[in-house]
């Protein structure tokens, strides 16, 4: 040892300490193998503990997103349940009621860009598959993403033209229409007047919320700041209306990370509606498109679709007094797209 031998002499405690410090020939230290094994065991324990904890955190975050997704879905279902029955997808309308043109319910003239972003332009296998897996409609062979059929489901209407700035019907005898892809209008002819039709399509649904813009800093509140339920990405996807006057308000800033919307119109009560942010479609097998845009890291994207159903809950391709609505919410978790489905039945009261 480094201590001089004279320091140890004459004391029983010191003698014992000396014994402790002085190692025998067989236990002078750890061998390299012992050190490596010990380090491996410690690393294993630390790694295992770390993995358990991170997995637990991951699970908590995932659960959090799932709960939020279901609430967003439920809120939209609530909106649909409060909607006029015929305006809920699949919409139903009697041709000629109020004119020969029909405006789809998702179109908002104040924010036409929303409707364009909401509409999912792709044919839906479910419409054309045989019953009971699908609705068994004849495939109209058109990739316009919308399906118009007669009340009894036997006649699929033909889309004669699908462009912007349509102004009228096709002018041919029966069961056809023109589709204005800009303003989301369907134009029919007098030949089909009085016929009831069902109109199928799918869409990314908006998220609605109300808020009173805080006019001062307080606990859990920040002046001028409203935190949104999910992430619209940027200001272009957000519409704000002052409740009392109905006038549009432009928020000053939006932060996608914190989901905070900053206003200078403090004290106003507003209605905020927005389209959650989405990315390119690459979530199918091997990165192939699956027909839906992917949610971004911070957003939850919901898709709405529907069909008529019988009193026993089975799907039918004829107009009945019950609609089955399916809302599917998508979000991103650990590089993968997760989804939660919510179904509801809406009655014609």
């Amino acid at each position: 040892m480094l201590l001089p031998d004279s320091l140890w002499r004459g004391s029983s405690i010191i003698t014992q300490m000396k014994r402790l410090f002085v190692l025998s020939g067989k236990e002078r230290g750890f061998t390299l193998a012992e050190v490596i094994v010990a380090m491996a065991i410690i690393s294993f324990v630390v790694l295992a503990t770390w993995r358990v904890i991170t997995s637990s955190l991951h699970s908590i975050t995932r659960q959090d997103q799932k709960v939020k997704a279901l609430h967003i879905s439920q809120a939209h279902l609530g909106r649909l349940e409060a909607e006029t029955f015929s305006r809920v997808v699949p919409e139903n309308w009697i041709i000629g009621a109020g004119g020969d043109e029909y405006q789809l319910n998702i179109y908002d003239s104040r924010y036409p860009s929303f409707a364009l972003s909401q509409f999912i332009k792709s044919d839906f296998t479910y419409w054309y598959s045989a019953t009971p897996d699908g609705l068994g409609f004849s495939n109209d062979g058109e990739d316009d993403g919308i399906l118009v059929v007669s009340a009894d489901g036997s006649t699929v209407y033909t889309c004669t033209s699908a462009t912007t700035n349509e102004t009228g019907g096709p002018g041919t005898p029966e069961a056809d229409y023109n589709w204005d892809t800009d303003e989301f209008k369907l134009f029919f002819d007098s030949a089909d007047e009085g016929e009831e039709i069902q109109i199928y399509y799918r869409y990314y649904h908006l998220v609605d919320e109300g808020a009173t813009i805080p006019s001062f800093d307080a606990e859990a509140r920040e002046e001028g700041v409203v935190k949104l339920v999910t992430d619209p990405g940027d200001l272009n996807n957000i519409a704000v209306e002052e409740i009392e006057s109905g006038n549009s308000i432009d928020p000053d800033e939006y932060s996608s990370t914190t989901r905070e919307l900053l206003f200078s119109d403090e004290g106003d009560s507003v209605w905020i509606y927005y389209l959650p942010d989405s990315d390119t479609d690459s979530s199918g097998p091997d990165g192939a498109p699956d027909g839906y845009l992917d949610p971004t890291e911070n957003s939850i994207v919901g898709v709405a679709a529907g069909n008529f159903c019988n009193p026993d809950g089975s799907a039918t391709n004829q107009i009945t007094r019950t609609k089955e609505i399916t809302l599917t919410e998508y979000w991103r978790q650990g590089g993968q797209i997760q989804q939660a489905e919510h179904k509801a039945y809406i009655l014609d009261r």
């Binding site: 014992q16 300490m17 014994r19 402790l20 410090f21 190692l23 025998s24 067989k26 236990e27 750890f30 010990a38 410690i42 324990v45 630390v46 503990t49 770390w50 904890i53 991170t54 637990s56 955190l57 908590i60 959090d64 709960v67 609430h71 967003i72 439920q74 809120a75 609530g78 909106r79 349940e81 409060a82 909607e83 998220v207 609605d208 919320e209 109300g210 808020a211 009173t212 006019s215 001062f216 307080a218 606990e219 859990a220 509140r221 409203v226 935190k227 949104l228 339920v229 409740i243 009392e244 004290g267 009560s269 209605w271 009261r349």
Partner: protein
């Protein structure tokens, strides 16, 4: 009785070499244990805080969900929203429960009368007193504590011609940061409800939870 001589500690009977741990061994073990503790503790702390945070969040969600459910159920049992201009929504003094678009954190509506033999309809109020420094706190007389916003429901008692005691819809430790009733539809019979609650998390940070729902008057 055996005396504690200390000899056992050095294991005299079984030889000196395997008598116990040397100080070096103890120091090494303690060092390793400290290292493990040093590595694991932050993770444990994070996990513990995460657990507390989850507890806070689930409490917020539970409160919001239950409060929303009660509001939606009540509104769907209602018929017509009573506007602020109507005398029907006053309580005889300056307090007016009526719906006002400029202050959409309260709503009053008629429900079918629950008192047998009485033809008048019941009135129900859903209300949150949100604090505002610029204007007088909204009807503070209707809350128990002036500075704490309270979300509650009140029913009008036709027999006594007065509003019953308020029934709170959320727990006292939870704060209300947003409540809005937005009327829509051709007959203003559709109501979009936004409710945001807040509660302090384990690091004294404010956690918020916002829930949106819609109801149609008279849907049930």
């Amino acid at each position: 009785m055996k005396s504690f001589s200390g000899e056992k500690l050095v294991g005299k009977g079984r030889g000196q070499r395997k008598a116990g741990f040397t100080l070096i061994e103890l120091l090494v073990v303690m060092g390793l244990l400290s290292l493990i503790a040093f590595l694991v503790y932050p993770a444990y702390l994070g996990s513990s805080r995460s657990y507390d945070l989850t507890d806070v969040k689930s409490s917020l969600q539970q409160n919001a969900r239950l409060a929303m459910k009660r509001m939606v159920t009540s509104l769907e049992a209602g018929m017509v929203v009573i506007p602020k201009e109507s005398d029907e929504a006053t309580d005889g003094s300056e307090n007016n429960y009526g719906y006002d678009k400029s202050n959409p954190h309260k709503i009053v509506f008629y429900t079918w009368n629950s008192t047998p033999g009485n033809s008048d309809n019941d009135k129900t109020a859903l209300y949150a007193a949100l604090p505002d420094l610029n204007i007088d706190p909204i009807n503070p007389a209707l809350t128990w504590e002036r500075d704490e916003p309270v979300l509650y429901m009140r029913r009008y008692d036709v027999a006594s011609s007065s509003w019953e005691n308020a029934l709170p819809l959320i727990r006292p430790e939870v704060k209300i940061t947003q409540l809005n009733f937005i009327l829509g539809g051709d007959n203003e019979d559709k109501v979009l409800i936004t409710l945001e609650l807040a509660r302090q998390g384990p690091l004294k940070e404010w956690c918020t939870y916002k829930l949106v729902s819609a109801a149609k008057l008279g849907a049930r």
